[in-house]
Structure formats: C-alpha cells, structure tokens
Symmetry: D2
C-alpha cells in the first residue's frame, strides 16, 4: 500500500485518478471505515424533551395548516449525527404529530410501516382502510404498509402523539411506494372500539373467516388497559415468586401479530417496559437501533457514557451497539420501538451485556 | 388373478398358505379395502345424549371411587363402528368426566394432548404443572402433552365436563408415555384467574420473558366471556355489512396458541360455532374426524343421510369424509374439536362442499 | 374401584352394562392399556429373509397376473404382532413388488405416499405423472401422494424391488383417496434420466421457474452413484479427522426434498446408512417405527433382546421404542425408512440411548 | 402551509429555526422526497466494462501490495448516483478482486455476507473456516457472514474475479462486525474438491450429522459444470415441449441453501440466466437492486430508456424499480445477484411487467 519512489507515486496517483474516472473505488484505503470491528454508527445517542417538542408542535398548529401535499403536521426527531436528514436513526423515523380541534389529516397509503403511540390526550380517530380507530392515552395504533389511513380530531381540543415509521430504511433501500387517498377520512364515525378490534382483540381466539396469516398484525389497536394489566400482573407474579419478568423489578411485553405471534409489522418491533421504583438494568449492547419514550415516571438513562434524567414524554434514541441502561427513580413506564425485525430476519442480531455470558 | 386349472388352483392355494407362514400378505386381494376411492371409515356418525351421559356419570360417582390407578372417573364415547374400543373416532377420545364434591383426581402426565370443555357447572380447579385453573361454564381448559395435571372439586357439589384427547391416535401410533404425579393436587388454592392467564391472556401482548415459541399454547384457559363476546361481535359486524362470519348467520372462532397463531396443540383443533336462529350450513365433506357438543340451543344435524335433533349437551361425531350439515332452530352454540392439525401437517387435508368450487 | 357389598356389585354390573348399551366405555378399567408408561406396541420386531421373499415373489409371478383391480404384484410384510393386517408396523407398509419381463402395472394414484427402493436388478421404468423414471440398483424412487404412477418392465427379465408406503397410517386415520389411471403407462419411453432429474438433480441449484415450495420432493429419483459417493466421502472425511459421520465408522444420509431441505414426503423419512467393518451402534429407543433393508454386506441387528444375523436383501422392522443396535461384520450398507415426519410434526419425538445424556 | 402576512412569515421562519436548534425536522416540507410515489433511487443504472476493470486491476497488482490492514486488492463499482461511496447500489457492493501469482489475501471475518464469482481464470483457493475451496471459471463461492476466509494464489499466474457483498446495507444499518484472522491462509492445500462439497454437494442428500438448518448455505462452492448442465437441460426440456424455463428461450437457476431450499445467504440472492440467441425479456420493474455480469456471449440490456451493448465480463447495475430488459445476440449467459432476500423477508417485494397481469 506504499509506493517507494517518485515514479511509483505518480503511477499510483494516476491509478487512483483512473479509478475515479471509471467510477471505481479501491477497498484497501477505506476498509476500516467500511468494515469496523464493531458497529460504529454516525447516529448519536440523544434525548428530546417532551415539553419542548410539544411547545413546538403547538406553535406549528397555529402557523402551519395540515392538508394534502404536506399530508401531516409531523415534526421528526433529527439525529444530530445524521445532519440534513429527519431521521432518528438510519432505520427509524419518529415524530410528534399534532392535530388541532376538528382538523383532518387526509388519507394516503405508503409501503413504509407506521404506528402511533399516545403519551397523553385523546379525541382523534385514525381511520385505517376505512375503519375508525380511537386514539387514547397509552394506546398503540398500527397502520401497516399499504393501508390507507387518515386522522381526524373529533373534539375542540388539540391532540398530539408520536408516529414511528421505518421510513429511513425504506427510503435508503428504495422500496417505498406512496398513494394519495381521500381528502376527508372515509368514515367519520367515532366508535370507542374499531371493527378490527371487534374481530381480533380476544386472547387466543381467531376468527374462522381469517385463517390466512398476515405479514402485519390485523389488530390495529393495542389498548392501554390491557398493556397496563399485563405489566401489573407480571410484577405481581414476580412478587409471588414466579418467573414472569425479564429482570428483577422489570416487567415488559412485546406487541405481537396475533396471526403469527411475531412482531406487529415486518420491520418494526414495539414493546412496553415497566420498572419498579429503584429497579435498573445492566448496560446492554444491541445490534440495531431503538427509540424510547417515557410514558410515565422519572428515572435516568445511561447512553454510552452519558447519563440523562428523563421523565414523562421524553424521547431518546439508542444507535446500534451503543450500550444503554435504565434506572427507575419512581415507578417508570417506557414505550420502545426498534428495528429488531430487520436485524433478526436478516440474521445480524447480537446482544452483549458485559458480565453476562454471551447468548 | 384367476387360476385356470386344478393344478393352478392348488399351487395358488399353496402360495397363499406360504405367504401366511412367512408372515406375508398379498396386496392384490385386498387393494380395494386398503385403498378405497374415498375415505371409508369404520367409525360411524353417532349422537350421544347429554341427559343419558350425565345420569350415568352420576351413578358412577356413587359407585366408583376416583383415585390412583384408574386415575379419572371418565366415561368415553365408544363409537359403535369401532367395537371393543373406547374411541369416538380413530384419532379422538371424548369422555364425560365427573368429580363429586371435594373429590380429587390425582396428578399425572402423558404425552397425549388433552383439554376439557365445560358445558355446565363450576367449582373444579384443574392444576396444570402446579398452576390451579378454575373451570367454569363455557371455558376451554388445556393440558397439553407431558404437563402434569390433576383436578380437585373445591365445592360440595359434583361437576361434570367433557375431556378431549388424541389418545386413540397416540395409542395406535405407539407414541404415548405416562407418568404418575402427586396423589393430591400440588396447589389446592382456588384462584379465579390462573397464573398462565395472568401472563398470557392479553390480546396481542407477549411477555418479553417468553419469546420462544411453544409447540402447545402456554395459555391454559380460554374463558367463556371472551368467546361469547367474539362471536357476538362477528354477528354484529355481519349485521353492519362487514365480512366477519364464515357463512350467513354463522360466527366461529378457532382457539389458538398465542405464540404462533396456530392450533392450541399439535394434534387437536378446537373451535366454537354460533348460529343465528334459522341459519344453516351446506353439507360438507372433510378429511379427518370431529366431535361436536351443543353448548346451548336446539337444532338439527344431518350426518350422512340421517337427521338428528340435538340440544344442549348432546354430543355427536363426524367420521372422515361423512358429509355433515347443521341447522339452527334457536340461537345455536356448538363446541367442536377435531384432528385437523394431524391431517394438515401431514398434508392429507381436503374439503368438498357439493355445489361449491373445490378449494 | 371396588364395590363393597352384593347390592353394590349388582349396581356396578348394571352400570357397566348400561355403559355398553349407551355406547360408552369407562376409562378407569383400561387406563394402563390406553396410557402405558412407555410405548407398548403390539407390532413386534421381526426379520424377513430376502431369499424367501424373492422366491415367493417369483412363484407369484408365475401364478398371479398383474393388472387393473389388484393393481400390483406386491407382497407385504405382515407383522406377526398385527395379525390379520398386511402391515409392517401400525404406520408403515412394506412389500416386495415383482414385475416379469414386459409386464406393466397399470397407472393409478392415491393420497398415501409411496416410494420404491431397489436392492438388485434393473429394467423397470416407473412412470410418475407421465415422466418415465428408470429403476436401478441402489436407487430410491418416489411417488408422493396423488401422483399418477405405473410401472413397466422394458426387458425380458423379471425385476423385484421393495415398496414403502404410509398406507397403514392413511387407512387407520381415514385420509386416503384412490383413482385409477391409464391401463398402460402413459409414456413408454425408457430414458436413463427422467425429466424431473433433469430439472432438479443439481446440488443447490433451483429452477427459477419452480420457486414454490413443495409438500413432497419434486425430485423423484435419488441415484445410487450419488448416495454411494456421499457415504464414501463421509468416511474419508472421518479418516482425515473431520466431523462428518453420525458415529465412529457410521456414515449416513437422509434423502431430502430440495425445495425445503426436509423429508422427501410429509409422512415418510428415508435414509441410507453405511458401516465400516466392525463398526456398531449403541442400543437406541426411538418413538416411531422403522423398516430396514440390508443393501449389501453382513452383520447383526439386536432388536429388543434378540440378535439376528442379516445379510443382503434381508428386511427387519423396529416397532416404536424397541431398542435396536447394529453391528457390521463386513462393510455394511442399509436402507431405512420410518414414520419420523409423523412423529416429529406432531411433536411426539423422543429418543433414548441408555448411557447417553437424554437430548 | 402558507403564511399570509409578514408577521406570520417571521413567526414561521422562527419556527423552522427552532426546529433546527432542537434537532427536529418538519415532514410537510419534504414529504414528496421522503415518500415518493414509486421508488426514486439516487443510484443510477450503469455499465462497467470488463476490459477496463481488468486493466485497472492489473495495474493495481503492480502498484499496490495486498496484506493486513487493506486486506484485499478489491476495486469496487462506485455508482455515479452515489458519489463518494464505493457502492454499486445502496445495498450491494461489487468489486473486482485481483491476486497475483503466489500472493495471499490474509484471513479475516465480518458479519456482512460475501461471495465470489469467477468469470475467467483459476488457480486461487479461498479458504473458508479452514477449508480450501478451489476457484474456477463459472464457479460461485460463498463466504457467509462471520466465516473466516482468506485467499491464496497457488500458481504463477494472476487471477481476477468479482466479489459481491451486502456491505452497503450492513454499513448503513450499523450491523457489521469485523475480526482479523491468520495472516496466511490456515490451510495451504489445493484440493480440487473442498470438504464442504464432499459433505453437501449431492442432490437431495443430507448428512445425518447435519440436521440443523443453517442461516446460510453450508455448501460453499457451486460448480460451473452443474450450473451449465442445469441450464442446458432446461432448454432441452423446453425444446421437447415441457415447462422448465422462465420464458421462451430463457433458462435460469437460483443458487440455494440445501438445508432450506432458500437463498444462499440471508441478504443476498444469486442466480444464473441463460438465453438462446435471439431470446429476450420484457421490461421488468423490481423492488430492490441487482448487479449482473455477462459470463459469456453478446447482447443488449435496456436500463430505463438506455440500451447498452454488453459482452463477456461486463457488469451492470439495476437500481430499484428501474425497468430492465435483456436481448441475446448470441447464446448469452449472465450471472446476477441482488438484495431480494432483504426485500422479501421485510415484505417490500413488488414486480411490475407492463403488459402482464400484476402478480
């Protein structure tokens, strides 16, 4: 890789120039960037504050209309390590979306997968392929790829929530399609329970008319009452001496597709974690990136070497292989989503918890 | 296949005798029995009356103790076409089990898969691997293969229910193991909700501590309230013009393993069907056999060419390929179990509904 | 389970009589037969001698024509433990089939799965869905369920081979369909390579026109040359110090469906085992039954407690859970088929090798 | 989305500035870039000429040593639409690698998956986890993720081939690990057949010691003789009137993992296509990108609206959704690899052939 004389230097310079003119690029000068010893993400760990996000969303609500073309009043977390992009991580998009009283976000569909998670408020219905789905605090609502969806606020009050998508991934890999739908939502009813829930939201019961497995969950709403109960019971079982939690004082569920028991969508994994006051996790390295939102309570997260105090509504991102750990000061509830299905289906998954035997 | 002269006759007779002495058997004399054009079960369609079953179970309760060795006070449907066996069909075993007040059926485990379905009554807890599971009207309770289980009646009143197993299949194919457990149930508590339900009975929520898929459902109790609601909503959706039912006025669910979305156990399929008054099904031929119990209401079933009036508690069996159809006089609820997983996993499944395009 | 007085005796007798008249059967009197501690097959281990089989097949060739109705001149191994049936085991059928020079066995199809294995001779073509497949020594030829097939002998010499089917299983579970086809084979050509081989018999190469997975292998012929080479190389790798064999001096391959890597047919597993002179296996209990044929060489098999000397062409059956072990006196080649896919897909598989840690 | 007065303009400008200072980014100003109606890749269709590539590789051979650190003398196709990157497409890396006589490329391993395809020459052995694999014209050689591999040239002559990796994908998604191995290859033998082939290269035969499925193919070498024969036979079958090809005069195989029948590696699909003289394909849009190399013959490829004449050794890339079609002037053989497994496992796959019914 070294040339020993001026003539050699010239030839080498000419070689590199020729590479460029022929649209070629040598591996040997960039091997360590292309093939790092461990994942070396450009994305950085970062925390966004809900109070700031919400205030900006409110101002947007006053200044920016919502409608066809822009489609959504959504403000995305833009990772400082990925300047010029609206990406939380290379694979994940996360935004706060804001809809003022009686506003409508028009219907459209796209191949990227999406969900909404509600940290506070209610009053909006998201209409998924014509099925109005109420959005309430603590709910996870899905709009899997290529399902039409629009949102309308049925109240006088604004509502904000977070959107999660695999948009950066879909954009990078050039797999995305998009289509406009109705300007108004196609069904303006505001039922407390959607039709998909009436078909699918029974534990272990599958409609006999729906035996074909689905790439994405046919259940579009995962209600807070069930999530809360599941976590409460895990901790109660732990108290009673039975295995139920993932760690001492750490209950957690994964939202799953009832037709397969697997992730809700082919690219996105959604989970909810609850910690008892005082509980904590060991630092963990994971391949793939995640976004977390505090749903309730206070605690700290250590991202790499930095500790951050976080409380209700705050969001943070964990780039690939950056070690993270959580400590709960109060009872501490967090929603998490990540690109685990991408990583696992393509067999790149690895986890490392220093001090634990590698699994 | 015909011999033309006496010498030939003698030689042929000698050949057949030699076959026998060498433990051999020619195909050509029995091809049509071994390879019928369509399945030709020896088992026959048959109806058992709940009133008769229950009365005999009561008399057994007075005359026959329950305990180690006999293990269960269970009286099996013995298909008249399979004389000398206690089998409902070649693959399925179905019995009424009866437990008097404060009796205990001792714990054991076996590789055959089992469940219980409760058509009336309550007060017994089935203890599955140490986890007491309340049995109440309309509930389906699982004891998958090789799980210890015993039953104890916590009340002064007797209780009866039906047991379903793949015992004839397991016995025929020589795959069964059996082991005695505790003489008493290992946990005599009588909680209204079992621990497995507290972990698993949330729609679309999977404990993060339980990510390995299971051959059998980890959820041991499917409660009537959920089944009833699911069926009621299917009919309500049908009323509102949405696809939800399997046929006009015919709602149905399949009980599934939440870790896979598939059948509750590797050999047994369980379903619940609800018909509006007046609804009926077209005659249907299915490969594989099923057992049905009327849970509530009155109607008729046509099995082959015979029509039977049936009502609450009555049981009937449908051998393979025998056409069956149902007609509801009142609102009509039926529980069904069958060997569908055996037939499908081994790729022998076929269905024929005369007049429908073959699927 | 005991009645204490004459009146009780009478009542109990009446109860049992009533059970019978109502087509019911108590569990408690037959629990130990229905639920044995370990599989207790009625089928017994047994050895059939090729010389005897072949001689009887030849006599059949002289006395019994082959044609429509009887369909095949096949003489089945009739397990002495299953009197009155032509079954090798409860799930497996195995027969010697014999076709004299220029004879034809007419085409038909059935849902039971079938294969042929050739211990000696050649000259017959089996025509599978119109594709003539040469049968030669050491070849495994498939006719999966519902494929039309007939055989014709293109030479002046008779030929014999063994047939294996899941017929007892299909018959017991009532899943079988049957249909007559052409009286003559539909293609009388005698190519050395069949069309399915020309499409599929390349290691790791899949036709782009055939991307849908198949329940059964689309490759109908597994040629001796490949089997022999694969086994020879395993032993050579073992000699060179690399892991390749299943035990010291014991090479083995499983025939698989190239579209899935799994068993060739949904109910039948086929394998070929080769032992160096002097090699042996430890006694092994397996759930499920198997049939073996010595392809070449001499050795002994221990079935349960009995040792049998066996040599080329001899067949033996191993009922479920009966321990078997093999010892090779010479180089020792054996073909084996079993009901492993049934046992495994339904999750009843267990193996026990005394002295080994249970897997 | 428009502000109507100067005060509003100021407020809006302040809002956007605040977004930036808080690391946020509005969706509504960039929706059409992020969510295009159809995939709108930055990568462009492009053709590289083998003669140019090879000449540059030769010059590199003279000027640039190969060794630890740079690791490989590999010169990557750098898509002009992705300036500053050495990427053929956003997911695929493709390079010409060159090894002079008796040179060694040191061993290393990485989680990205890799293969080599040989358009001409021989004499190099790639040593995969200690198993030396000969590289010859027309062969496909795998080094799946996390397998150690090095290459050594056992002759006096240089050899060049192409490498394919999922490196851009792994780099973008931050999933890559890397580790140095031995400076010399760990086994300098030069057998004509590798040990993995001796275990795995038999059609439909699986070693009984290797029953666990593999994420990547355990067969590391797919030899030209088999590929050539498979394609030749497809065309011969087409001539004889049987279905075998993917289009008139267009034979093709996919290289597969024999343990699953699926793609050779979790992220990369490899195929070989053969066209008769005069054959052509219809323009086809596919989600996902591909790289092709002409193995032999001459023809044209239309990429988008541009037609290119191509011949032996030439390479071209097809970005996502850019329509491509091929026309063969002579017999025309092409190797192709693509990111199909990524696209399909994540359920983004779509194909459109104008004039064909959408599948």
């Amino acid at each position: 890789m070294t040339a020993t004389d001026p003539a050699g230097d010239r030839e080498l310079a000419q070689l590199y120039a020729d590479f460029e003119s022929y649209n070629l690029s040598p591996l040997w000068t960039q091997r360590d960037d292309l093939l790092p010893f461990v994942p070396s993400p450009r994305a950085v760990p970062f925390v966004w504050r809900w109070s700031e996000l919400f205030a900006l969303a409110e101002r947007s609500g006053e200044l920016v209309p919502v409608g066809r073309g822009g489609e959504r009043r959504a403000i995305a977390l833009a990772n400082p390590g990925l300047p010029g992009t609206p990406y939380a991580t290379p694979t994940l998009w996360c935004a706060i979306q804001y809809l003022a009283g009686h506003e409508t976000a028009p219907e459209h569909r796209h191949s990227p997968n999406a969900f909404r998670f509600v940290v506070e408020g209610e009053g909006v219905w998201t209409v998924v392929d014509g099925d109005p789905v109420a959005m309430r605090r603590g709910d996870l609502l899905l709009t899997p790829g290529w399902h039409f969806h629009g949102h309308h606020n049925d109240t006088d009050q604004p509502m904000a929530w977070i959107d999660g998508l695999d948009l950066p991934f879909a954009h990078y890999t050039d797999v995305g399609f998009f289509e406009f739908g109705s300007e108004r939502v196609t069904d303006e009813a505001s039922p407390s329970v959607s039709r998909n829930e009436r078909l699918w939201a029974y534990p272990g019961l599958r409609p006999l008319s729906e035996l074909d497995d689905r790439a994405s969950s046919p259940l579009m709403a995962y209600r807070w009452e069930a999530t809360d109960a599941a976590l409460r019971e895990q901790l109660a079982l732990e108290d009673a001496g039975y295995p139920a939690t993932v760690g001492q004082g750490h209950a957690a569920i994964r939202y799953v597709n009832p037709t397969t028991g697997g992730d809700v969508m082919p690219t996105l994994r959604c989970e909810f974690h609850r910690f008892r006051p005082g509980a904590s996790t060991r630092p963990r390295h994971e391949v793939g990136s995640s976004v977390w939102q505090v749903f309730e309570g206070q605690g700290t997260v250590v991202l790499g070497n930095e500790e951050h105090r976080i409380s209700t509504g705050d969001l943070f991102v964990v780039p690939s292989w950056v070690p993270w750990s959580l400590h709960a000061d109060t009872g501490f509830d967090l929603f998490r989503f990540d690109d685990g299905p991408i990583v696992e289906r393509l067999r790149f998954d690895r986890t490392h918890v220093p001090g634990e035997r590698r699994g």
